[in-house]
Homo-oligomer: 419 residues x 2
Amino acid sequence: MKKTDYKVALLGFGTVGSAVARILSDGSRNHLRVTHVCNRNVEQKRVEWLSEGVTWTDDIEVVLESDVDIVIELIGGEEPATDWIRRSLRKGKSVVTANKQVIARYGAELEFIAQEEKQWLRYEAAVAGGIPVIQGLRDGLSGDRLFRILGILNGTCNYILTRMESDQVSFEKALGEAQELGYAEADPTADIDGLDAQAKLAILTAAGLGESVLVDSIPLRTIRSIEAVDFIYAKRLGATIRQVSRAERNEDNQVVASVQPMLVPTSSTLAQVGGSRNMVVVEGESGGETAFAGLGAGGLPTAVAVVSDLESITRGTSEVSGILTKSAPREVVGEFVSPHYIRFVISDRPGIIAGLAGVFSRHGVNVDSILQEPGWSKKELPFVMTLEACDTASVREGLKESELFDFHQRPPLWMPVLA
Amino acid sequence: MKKTDYKVALLGFGTVGSAVARILSDGSRNHLRVTHVCNRNVEQKRVEWLSEGVTWTDDIEVVLESDVDIVIELIGGEEPATDWIRRSLRKGKSVVTANKQVIARYGAELEFIAQEEKQWLRYEAAVAGGIPVIQGLRDGLSGDRLFRILGILNGTCNYILTRMESDQVSFEKALGEAQELGYAEADPTADIDGLDAQAKLAILTAAGLGESVLVDSIPLRTIRSIEAVDFIYAKRLGATIRQVSRAERNEDNQVVASVQPMLVPTSSTLAQVGGSRNMVVVEGESGGETAFAGLGAGGLPTAVAVVSDLESITRGTSEVSGILTKSAPREVVGEFVSPHYIRFVISDRPGIIAGLAGVFSRHGVNVDSILQEPGWSKKELPFVMTLEACDTASVREGLKESELFDFHQRPPLWMPVLA
């Protein structure tokens, strides 16, 4: 498919959809023409500025039966999005999507269909908004063998955590602000608890490590339990806190992956990402550490990724064969070995540290340091214990056993420390 | 050209060439096979580990007359490299090169030949080593309209400047260390004085802004004049010093560009790049700021870029049409408007600041601040004047006029401040 005029259909005309239409209407891309907009209650979506001759419809069949060349899926959610993408491909249309859940879960099947139909399926916008990281990993670094991916993939979490860091506000206050600014949804679960980053990490793992993984097997831990005091202790440890998405290949050729809050050294690349920005850092056997950073969300940045995908389809520069179809998806391993941070909130009395150290010692874990900032009430005293490198299971077991102590005022918070 | 077996010739078997051969010999890329190595005194280069059946030669004609599919040019310098690339393309071979001077100066002509011959010319390795930034700008961000490029494109300069910053060593000492570590050449002129970054910036300007520029029209200023004391004053101003390559489109649709040391705020993305690493930050109308960072030099990282280019040729994912051929090359404008930093070294007496402020005032330039650290000899006293935003010409004129004062102990150093 190499032509001079491509008819484009937009499925979904919200923030990203209208931003795509804006970019395509600026007069500089006359080879790409929006001919169809499909949306529920489409009459409420109709705008004057989009060129004449556009068919506005709420019926997907109108798009599927049309002579549209490329369908842009921006409705989100698993269904009917997956079905619409599948049927678009079967109707001989290429598809560009920003839908991380669909690609993470059904990408392999959809790429297979795209190959069969000799169409393209592109999804740069599904991960890290406007940052061209999928292409960077699959093409730009294809000469390397990557073994690790670290990402700040959720702008909402990063906004909340950097707000808590800079002004010592509570999680609830930072979340409220993020919601007011439109960075967080009314129901922030998908962001805060890691489901959003989980899907993105699964896609990056395919693009960068060449491994299909079962999305739901990537373990998640929420950032809800982080308190302002954790940033005080993090700072004393020369670190800050980020929601880190991590995937790597271990010595047994398994994929180890997780999405969770981590203590990140202030000097590390990941700590440099402030506000709602995203970053992906990969490590390769030959090329060392390479980083990609930019705006990970928002209508216009995401639209840039969509339009770049459109452009590469029209240039015929996309490879037809996919990246998700290389291997059958498999479960990831969730157990990284790393130092750990544990913050307890206790009612103080003698012997607490000895008791806790004894527990962890029995699980083969050495305590590295004890930190206790002055000025807190003895009745609700936060203090921090850091553990030398150990596996997550040992930390969990030690914490489980330490539940028997009666000094806890709140459940302890633990996080791995990025080495 | 889409086949299962590609014969590859290496022109030049130094650090990068042998790293490419290593990667291609690791057993995971059997569709790419080194069949020819061409180098002066080739007998001294011959290695055992490169697969049998390789033709080792010092005669380019042997390569040109062979059935090699892809030629990798790694000999550096303008000639005979340009001639060899041209003739390889004319012989129906695709070319991958890491040669920034050839691409910056003759890239448009060579891309034109590649198009005529229906071959590929790829040069990701010419800029920023292993960081896939050319592809990122031309493809990954093609959906945006970029208007600014900022780069740390020379690892040697960045190593020297970050060494001076962290340990307050002199320029000469930092340069000597860089030479010992192999980061700087015996003749460091091309790095230190900006010629290396100049060629890279010209290529990025074509890839990112879509503008061919005359390489030699990009103004250069050396980092040789930076002294350890400048980092003390930079720190007081919340900044550090970097060799910054900058290109942007101005309101008159001209390309403004330069390579020079600049004062960079510590909080800015560019200031985060330490040691010999490289970074490219672009700004787009829709996507905002996007950054690419990684190892900008060295055998293996550069080899990753070369092999990634090879892979994309074999996948047929490269666009045949070039990026350098879009417009006739034109001169850049060297005059940015920005705040400026000037460091004087004077023999102290009353009235100096008034005199200097008067001079700049006559050129329409306002002094923003005067900084003078204690503890220096009055006879050789460094102090700093910062100027409010003004054009470079006014700074030069003011400095020219101030030469008439007899208090100077050394010529003043001036740098723009990155806003």
